[in-house]
Symmetry: D2
Amino acid sequence: MIVIRGGTVVSATGAAPADVVIDGERISALLAPGSLLATDAAGRADRIIEADGMYVLPGGVDVHVHLQLEMTPDATSADDFTTGTTAAAWGGTTTVIDFAGQQVGMAVGDAIEARHGEADGRCVVDYGFHLAMGDVHPQSLLDLGAAIDDGISSCKLFMAYPGVWYSDDGQILDAMFRAKDLGAMVMMHAENGIAIDVLRRRAGEAAALDPASLAPAMHGRTRPAVLEAEAVNRAVALAEVAEAPLYIVHLSSAEALEAVASARHDGRNVFAETCPQYLHLSFEEHLDQHGIDGLRHICSPPLRSQQGHDDLWRGLRTDQLSVVSTDHCPFCDNEKLLGATDFRDTPNGLGSIEHRMDLLHQGVVADEISLARWVDVCSTTPARLFGMYPRKGVIQPGADADIVLYDPAAQHVLSAETHHMAIDHSAWEGMAITGQVRTVLSRGSVVIDDRTFVGRAGHGQFVRRGLSELLV
Amino acid sequence: MIVIRGGTVVSATGAAPADVVIDGERISALLAPGSLLATDAAGRADRIIEADGMYVLPGGVDVHVHLQLEMTPDATSADDFTTGTTAAAWGGTTTVIDFAGQQVGMAVGDAIEARHGEADGRCVVDYGFHLAMGDVHPQSLLDLGAAIDDGISSCKLFMAYPGVWYSDDGQILDAMFRAKDLGAMVMMHAENGIAIDVLRRRAGEAAALDPASLAPAMHGRTRPAVLEAEAVNRAVALAEVAEAPLYIVHLSSAEALEAVASARHDGRNVFAETCPQYLHLSFEEHLDQHGIDGLRHICSPPLRSQQGHDDLWRGLRTDQLSVVSTDHCPFCDNEKLLGATDFRDTPNGLGSIEHRMDLLHQGVVADEISLARWVDVCSTTPARLFGMYPRKGVIQPGADADIVLYDPAAQHVLSAETHHMAIDHSAWEGMAITGQVRTVLSRGSVVIDDRTFVGRAGHGQFVRRGLSELLV
Amino acid sequence: MIVIRGGTVVSATGAAPADVVIDGERISALLAPGSLLATDAAGRADRIIEADGMYVLPGGVDVHVHLQLEMTPDATSADDFTTGTTAAAWGGTTTVIDFAGQQVGMAVGDAIEARHGEADGRCVVDYGFHLAMGDVHPQSLLDLGAAIDDGISSCKLFMAYPGVWYSDDGQILDAMFRAKDLGAMVMMHAENGIAIDVLRRRAGEAAALDPASLAPAMHGRTRPAVLEAEAVNRAVALAEVAEAPLYIVHLSSAEALEAVASARHDGRNVFAETCPQYLHLSFEEHLDQHGIDGLRHICSPPLRSQQGHDDLWRGLRTDQLSVVSTDHCPFCDNEKLLGATDFRDTPNGLGSIEHRMDLLHQGVVADEISLARWVDVCSTTPARLFGMYPRKGVIQPGADADIVLYDPAAQHVLSAETHHMAIDHSAWEGMAITGQVRTVLSRGSVVIDDRTFVGRAGHGQFVRRGLSELLV
Amino acid sequence: MIVIRGGTVVSATGAAPADVVIDGERISALLAPGSLLATDAAGRADRIIEADGMYVLPGGVDVHVHLQLEMTPDATSADDFTTGTTAAAWGGTTTVIDFAGQQVGMAVGDAIEARHGEADGRCVVDYGFHLAMGDVHPQSLLDLGAAIDDGISSCKLFMAYPGVWYSDDGQILDAMFRAKDLGAMVMMHAENGIAIDVLRRRAGEAAALDPASLAPAMHGRTRPAVLEAEAVNRAVALAEVAEAPLYIVHLSSAEALEAVASARHDGRNVFAETCPQYLHLSFEEHLDQHGIDGLRHICSPPLRSQQGHDDLWRGLRTDQLSVVSTDHCPFCDNEKLLGATDFRDTPNGLGSIEHRMDLLHQGVVADEISLARWVDVCSTTPARLFGMYPRKGVIQPGADADIVLYDPAAQHVLSAETHHMAIDHSAWEGMAITGQVRTVLSRGSVVIDDRTFVGRAGHGQFVRRGLSELLV
């Protein structure tokens, strides 16, 4: 039995002092500090973790990561399931959801089995999978039922990346009808990839006259926000036809937010996540810079103008945005430099799996969101949305003992020098942070102990998820 | 020590089995059922309340009631602080907020003292006060500071009732500037009373030709939704000028909801409550009926068209509406009949203090809102919004032991025959209900014990409230 | 010289008495009745047409007709260029714009030449062509320049009809970039054809269990308004990327109107037409009927619910909708009956070319639009939008003498018995009309003389159009 | 008989060459240049005015001017009816509408008679009156009927200026019901004057600590756009209750525009004008400057931020704004300086009566609006909206011969040195203008002859106006 004593337990609705008792893998009690039962519990405890001055948080839930993703034969995302979940743990995230990718010609079951093979025994914290469907056809939709039975209750589709992951509107609609029948969540990469490819082709054509048309900034200019908003609107319309729930991944722009807000205003089962990079980093600051800094910050959707940051923070505050995930998918410099003369050859993605809780805590410090909302968007709502609540996302008896002790007053600086992600640079280099994870427990086991890693690959288990709790 | 054992604790984010331990007036522990500590606790308990099959809820918080309100010399609202809080307890509400009314010419401090005199020693459950300001001037605004210090952290203004409670836009703006400085919440009765009075006068003028122009239906027609929406929009604009927080009381129409939704979409500190009558009862069904049924259902704002109900439920679901309160203010038939030949002579108000939890549970049954959202809008959010959290509105160690055992499967029918409000009819007569309160604790004392009243007047204490937790 | 004397000339801004003098093909003067010059003119006139009690209107401009359109090998639209333009003249329309259809594999120039071949020498009133592009590729876009030089300054694309006329978003965007460079108007059939095809396939699949799933009503149900609105929104987004002007054809639903209104609110070069069938006929009344009535009313987009009619009239009033055209494309009963057991086999289209002015005049009678707005949406704005103003669409010196004498008080009934379209039934059978065309001039020649046809095939000339006058 | 030969006649729908024949006070013919009738007319003409290279425009209609307005005993607007209408003529405006002001305690009929006494025999061009009601009560509303019979078909109310012109919402609603019955247009000064007075009082209170709180910039800061938008929204709501038409005067901000646009989107009889100062001048450039420049630019509503200019131009383009008037109400420097130490003592108003056509032509030059739209908002629509069409606002047989020859290529600079308004400075000093009025006719008489004034006081006649042509 472990007792966490003296801290302030923060939930999605507020903060209050309480001692937390852990029995095995689960939380067995919340106790008033100093109460008789608290004394009892302390007496029986194998270990008492003193948490004075600390927030005691439900472990973070990052529902969008890409570990060990072979994007092209030349570029595989830098973190494998061990380094990625280690970094997650360092950052206070105790559950990640990655993707089993069904590519064209591949059976759904094979894709899932393959991904299990890559993750099994290698994770430091718990993990789940979404199914990424790249080949929607009657058989793959049929197989979706088995995936759900196996705890993979959400399915991602792509309106971008024609020829690779792209589904056309007919495939999307077919998949949505199926998801509706199964109660599964449809996740959507919402960018109009067909139109974007025209802009990319035109950028290439323009290069003869103007080499700047292939600079990193053009990654942003060829993926304008209006084409993200358009895709969101279209996905919402298709979901309305099929009466299916919809979750927009990595929403990046005020324009797209407006499309989500409008659907939510109408009471639809439409949800969206944003990512820390869209809240903190901008086109002007990074993508519009020449050279490696621009390349390092190529991700899709692209970093947007600074102007939109306020809108996204407001969206988080008002529940137009439900979740913050990372879309963690970093590549090392040698891979990023593949696009040195043509941005189109750069593998897309940033690494943030370790920094999500910290980066969002800056919003608390800056009064953009409340303390409770921080926990809500980083832990409670993702768990509820993706069928893991009340096992994950909350500190209460019966829940998994995924717990983070967070020191709100600590000061540190993000840097490739100090991070634990397997990447040779940081998209966040030099950013000053208030607040820091000190201790992390995963299913009752201490993984980070006062900033020492004591976890082990293989402790993390696959989470069989149920259906979403947030549909009406 | 009391242990509530075997129930399902419902919070604003979900439900899970847990045993609840109460030590004195407060909750001291939440325990995993069957755990070692649970056995310990049961062993030490003075009383064990078995809650199998029951929801264990944080006691309801009704932030808008009018007990013992002398509306005119001829009409005083039927429930006094004892009958009203008794009925509240029967209905699972363990905290009510009433109003200290500062009428024209009255000092704020005197108004508060007088109201304390009426409530003190007479309440069965805890209670608080808002200040209702009917005479905004420099001195009364100065006195608002002392009121806040005394735990009355919210101030209600009226855009309706010229000559009685009405404040003009200048008084409202002055009060909002003051509230902004103090951090107080401004509550607003948002109907354009000046315009409504023209419509009422015209109804009177038309009576010579058409007596129906003074029938109960005209109460609704002279208070059209557009004049509620207008007032909401105006209040939002004035609050924007003063940068003050705003809470719209008894929002009744889809039109007004749209004005609130727009402000919330913009990230403003604007909140609204609706009441069960606007979710369940309609103009067509009641107000447009001749005779006593129409008169009994005269309240302000008036019952609206059935068509708008879906919008209000959607508003609750999407957090456009934050709270459900009752605006409990019932009058007996002899008072209602004062308006038998002229609706304008009817005292306005319905009685629902006893039925709020039940009436909203019907929304859970009908899938309009989730179980968690039911607790959220009836208990957690009102407590957070009005500075009582985490003492009220949540079941966790340290919170007041205000707890309701609710049987979700019970069936009963609302009726004046069986209700506990001091009123000789029911606005809800004959309505079939799924779910029922069985046992209620207030600050650790059992008040309703398996549907027997065991409370006492004087147990209920005045709650000194802090500032709102929900402002950004 | 012809003088039209004693009538009330109606323009897009109002009505006033004036005599109109025609010299050859053009209007040479507007004169104050009874003035010295009016006396002079009457003295010199070869013919005086008395117009007392008549509106004197600029000839109608119908910018969307399909004459002699071979839709499938089994179905060709009923009117050829002679019968179609004869019926147009009977209805007060003196300019029609049809389409030169570039099908897959066809050169743009060949398509135009072929269409010229079909129309040349056969038209009773003037006509023009849009280019309908079914095969967008670099060469066809190059050829668009020559088409514009030849007076075909607008290009229609299709988001519907995959495999036939459909362009994907990339083709659309490429075409829009080209149109932007050329100043050409992009016209769009805005329905999500890919999604619609899924719904049609599902209707077919459902037929095994429920034959009603292939009834005419399913034509409407498989083309829901949300998929029209989606397509409008997408077209607007693509036009924003390319900075191209956009004209939505045959807008049918309140939902799609909202998408247009939003773009126009933002000041975009976005325009839309609706058609009389979407203002007067409904799903409930016709499409949802079994048998031949349903089949006769199959057109795309489908007839919508009666509820939306008010919105479309409001859209016309407020200039959210700029134009009313007919989308005239009728098929005889033997062709309509091809879909007797499967709605998907019915050729889509209605015939209204003869009734547009009458049908819109009913809106004047019913106070939906003003007299001036009637002329505006039926004549002036279409001429301005499509590069024919001030030659067409206005009565002023220098304009083509395309003039209609309209008796606003006449009463008649629409019927296949009496109409002049080459179709064996009427979508408008039995509809009572107030107002009637009495006399029509085309380029100075009388075509309908007091309800006697005196025109001739071959009088009508091809109108080489310039660029739109309404772009900013 | 006068013939204007060789020019390009511009209407609200476009431009075309035509000769204009004037017989007495009215236009008797429009002729194709070079036609037989044109030769006839030229032969008979008393005078031929050559207009090669000129636009021939319908005379401007400025529906909002304040000549000889005694604002306070110390401040009377600078232009009397002679200098004001002279300046109007110089600027191409041939009809102005001023106000008969019914102040508190004054009978409507007396107010009108008094204003007739001031204008009669002193005007150079035609003029009309609106009724400005400062004292709404049953008798004044009764008297509104007689005013309409006398050609004063519009009534202005004020939501600003408490204690002077202000009407409360009840008075407004009463007046709107009456206007609805009479078919009269309700004009509204839409600013929340009650709230503004609080802000002005607070500015005064703050002056003890910070003298800048009484600088001209505070005129803007105490009249924020949100309080204009609020008032527009409220006026729209009241008009909805009464089903009355509404015309918002001097709309100045994007926020207020949005409220108008929303009402117009809904198809309501709601209209708005803006003024040149809100399109061209800004808070930053002028009001936020210390000293006389700030004081000179004090008007109500105040100049707004530069940022909003684009929105207002877009509003003009999209018909969200229907009219441009001047709100001409200038004061000389000695009067403006009354507010040297306290902005509240400055009489509000600018002088622009002479420059409206020029200032809006800059929008044509800059492609903000089309040539046709220029004529529409400056002449045609104001005439239609206020019951003067087709006598005013259009060049066609039967219309008053109010005609302007405008040289679109001329260059000049606005300056107090050269203007003809009776004011010792110019709000527009130094502004470079493309385009200039050369010759002006009023009811057939030349008033400005190739930039020489040849008019006379007393030529201008009172225009008895009918009801608005633009209501549905």
